[in-house]
Amino acid sequence: DAGVTQSPTHLIKTRGQQVTLRCSPKSGHDTVSWYQQALGQGPQFIFQYYEEEERQRGNFPDRFSGHQFPNYSSELNVNALLLGDSALYLCASLGVGRSTDTQYFGPGTRLTVL
């Protein structure tokens, strides 16, 4: 049973560029959430996707956008990168029908903005 996978593992970008991160949820899961984890901090909720729509959003600017595909995989896009966007980006998935609230996390993508 494949867990949550994310790609790429590491990414280096320069200020002003755009980046796309990808996530495949755990088998049988239909809901995907994205979190930003700055160094030495706890993860911060960015947004969540269910049935290909953004269901809830955290306190992040519109530069952060996402998408969910019919196979439940998801992308996180960040435009006009800032130095402060450097962080570990975690994807988490949740079970079908959300009969359980437990989210399963992927290994994350480490984004460095220079």
Partner: protein, 116 residues
């Protein structure tokens, strides 16, 4: 707004001993879930234990147990018989689950060191 506070940035424990990590939270909701996640250097968040607020019984998973005090809004994690593999960052998380969505609020974490 809900908040989660972990007041211990770092803790140390001798191998085979017991350690307790603290977590407090603030909420006006009555129905919610609390979690402890472990994040080793490999970065992947691993669920340690889960507590449902409406259950008075404290959750237990092998060497891991919680002390859930709903009135005090306290949710501490006890690790018994500590092992070297327990060394990691530990995050307490809250999930209100009142809006039909599942959004975790995390604390700032506690780094646990296990001494041989």
């Amino acid at each position: 707004a809900q908040t989660v506070t972990q007041s211990q940035p770092e803790m140390s424990v001798q191998e085979a001993e017991t350690v307790t990590l603290s977590c407090t939270y603030d909420t006006s909701e009555s129905d919610y879930y609390l979690f402890w996640y472990k994040q080793p250097p490999s970065r992947q968040m691993i669920l340690v234990i889960r507590q449902e607020a409406y259950k008075q019984q404290n959750a237990t998973e092998n060497r891991f147990s919680v002390n859930f005090q709903k009135a005090a809004k306290s949710f501490s994690l006890k690790i018994s018989d500590s092992q070297l593999g327990d060394a990691a960052m530990y995050f307490c998380a809250y999930d209100g689950n009142t809006s039909g969505t599942y959004k975790y609020i995390f604390g700032t974490g506690t780094r646990l060191k296990v001494l041989a």
